[in-house]
Symmetry: C2
Subunit: 395 residues, 2 copies
């Protein structure tokens, strides 16, 4: 029986994780639930899963919730509460808080959990090197929930002895047997849009992702391919792979999530339906697999399409990759600016094209500096948010 | 430096094997070449690769060849000669003689070679159990050259520790982690043909395979999907898999050769260009891989199409699978009848539809009997050829 704590239990990934656990009550016990402010959903989850620890970030909601909890539940609230909640000893921590605010809880959970099922990209993008160093130090497994990285882990991880590759930094990497990995990209909701059409595109259209149902920020990031850039960064840190060994291929069906290319041109692909329960159940159960009662493959005809990616069509993707190679504070900055800009776009304060503008402006006008400690991440994150807001006010 | 002997060096697989070796002279040394009767090709191969042992089956050609060979080459001829040639000690024997006549050389080579790169299907179809028992006894690796089986080996073999599966009978099979394997089928040259159109189809059309360039018999077998049935039998023996765990899916591009379906519905696929040099180089180099100088993947757009297979459209495939499950002499018989019928069809003595007729007739009128020894294989092979010829004479 694995003890599981879930950070971000009322979000899309959190709900999916609970739905996986619901079907495997003999394998997992939910001991802690942590949410932002959706107390209605959280209350029903508490009723169903009966955790010993509950945490909510929003202090106003905390006041309401506290009164409605039975005895025997240890209750936390606020940012400080989340950090205390992160100290709960567990077998698996599902880390599904959105944004950079998950970084501190993640670093604490790494010390207190045997395994992190990591759905949060931002902490790796902004502080990949710090996160994995810490995981190594405390001998904690980090399993990727992001489907492309999860698929790569499934391709690389289980074959570690043969390929000589350690999944999730679990060992050394033998670079001889494979030449490259490929992440697939659906191309997002705006694939094929011209520049002039992009300028006018509305929120609803951008949020209409063709294959995946996800949170809002990641859906917008999928449209600009910033998300794919972040996945390249994740791949770099998860597998210790050089950036030139990480390719992207357009594949609009999102059926194949990642491919491994051997030096003799043989490819291995990992496929599953575009349903987040797949990578979540893998990250929870690995090295075992959940038994799905329903067979889904090859029941009808289907086509998979592939197209080479033209990097010129995606300037923000190019920018993220360039930032990754710089190995300085630029990823922290771009992540923060992107988050602010998307927030402004979703609340209709700026146009879609302004996301490009503010990112480009700040990437040209930041002071390069190394990220050595966690404090550096928060310093540059704050700085970038301030500059981004100043810039966007003028738009 | 691996010492390699090649059975069937002047055929399609033999030539491809030599072309792989030509590019890896530092890894392989050809010590023996064996051909049927094409002395022109054989002589040029001898000149280039300078083997110590040469064998030709055709006695008339042998007389010509003998005079033209230099000293220092040990020469064999005739059926008896092939058997003696099979006793040469080697690291790898590439077994690419077509038809059941490869069975005896194979059984001898298993004793004398460390590894068999097996391109011949018939010996496994007719005597799979005897072949693999012998390989186990003499601790000889059998690596599949047939692309679908080779792809499966690449999926199952290298991951043996994780999946608990032993590639090529190398260990025990843990049946828990995967539910099924799928072989892909292009559907052959006649995919979608109606019965009336099939009755009239000519030799040229049948030999016009959409994706693979192969020998004549296997190309005709691809049109009837008898070939795919044989591959299911191969899969059964190579991986010790129950027939109900082996599926077929139509995939006209022949890019994905095989898939592994896990019990959580995750699929792993193995892909390479439809070029026999790919599986041959794998079987020669395993567990290493040849370094291909030319990157071929994702240089342009492409589509992969998949269709469920309707077994009703392929009566001979159904028949082969039914024969496999009977575990009696029926596979020996059907293989022999198929070989005779295709021979008659290619020399225009019968129509395409008569292949179906003679197979059906004999499958309804044979006496079931177990195959216990190699002599049983030859007995029923002879019997079936005789009956098939009698039947076809009346057509």
């Amino acid at each position: 029986m694995k003890r599981v704590v879930i950070f971000g239990s009322t979000g899309s990934i959190g709900k999916n994780a609970l739905s996986v656990i619901r079907e495997s009550r003999d394998k997992f016990r939910v001991i802690g639930l942590c949410a932002n402010k959706d107390i209605k959903t959280l209350l029903s989850q508490i009723k169903e899963f009966r955790p010993s620890f509950v945490c909510i970030r929003d202090e106003d909601k905390a006041k309401i919730l506290r009164k409605r909890l039975g005895r025997g539940i240890k209750f936390f609230s606020g940012q400080k509460g989340i950090e205390d909640f992160s100290s709960i000893k567990s077998d698996i921590a599902v880390m599904a808080i959105a944004g950079i605010s998950s970084l501190k809880p993640l670093l604490i959970a790494i010390v207190n959990s045997k395994r992190i099922a990591l759905a949060n990209k931002e902490s790796i993008v902004a502080a990949g090197s710090l996160v994995f160093k810490r995981a190594e130090r405390f001998n904690t497994q980090i399993l990727p929930v992001d489907s492309e990285i999860n698929a790569l882990f499934q391709l690389i991880g289980p074959a570690r002895r043969s390929f000589g590759i350690g999944g999730a930094r679990g060992g050394r990497i033998c670079r001889d047997d494979f030449r490259k990995v490929y992440l697939t990209a659906s191309g997002g909701a705006l694939a094929g849009y011209s520049k002039s059409r992009l300028a006018k595109v509305g929120v609803r259209k951008v949020l209409d992702h063709p294959t995946w149902k996800m949170g809002k920020r990641v859906t917008v990031d999928s449209a600009t391919l910033v998300n794919k850039g972040f996945e390249v960064i994740e791949t770099h840190y998860f597998f210790g792979l050089d950036y030139k060994k990480i390719g992207i291929v357009l594949h609009k069906e999102s059926a194949i999530h990642a491919l491994l290319e051997c030096r003799d041109n043989t490819l291995f692909a990992c496929l599953y339906p575009p349903d987040m329960k797949m990578p979540i159940s893998h990250a929870l159960c690995y090295p075992q697999r959940l038994d799905s009662k329903k067979e889904v493959n090859f029941k009808s005809s289907f086509s998979y399409n592939f197209k080479p990616l033209n990097y010129k069509d995606y300037p923000l993707l190019k920018m993220i990759l360039e930032a990754g190679k710089r190995e300085d504070n630029s990823l922290v900055i771009l992540n923060a600016v992107d988050e602010v800009a998307i927030d402004y776009f979703l609340s209709k304060r700026i146009n879609f094209i302004d996301i490009y503008k503010v990112m480009t402006y700040i990437f040209r006008n930041y002071k390069s500096s190394k990220i050595k400690r966690i404090e550096d991440v928060f310093f540059w994150d704050d700085w970038a948010r301030k500059i981004a807001k100043e810039y966007l006010k003028k738009v």
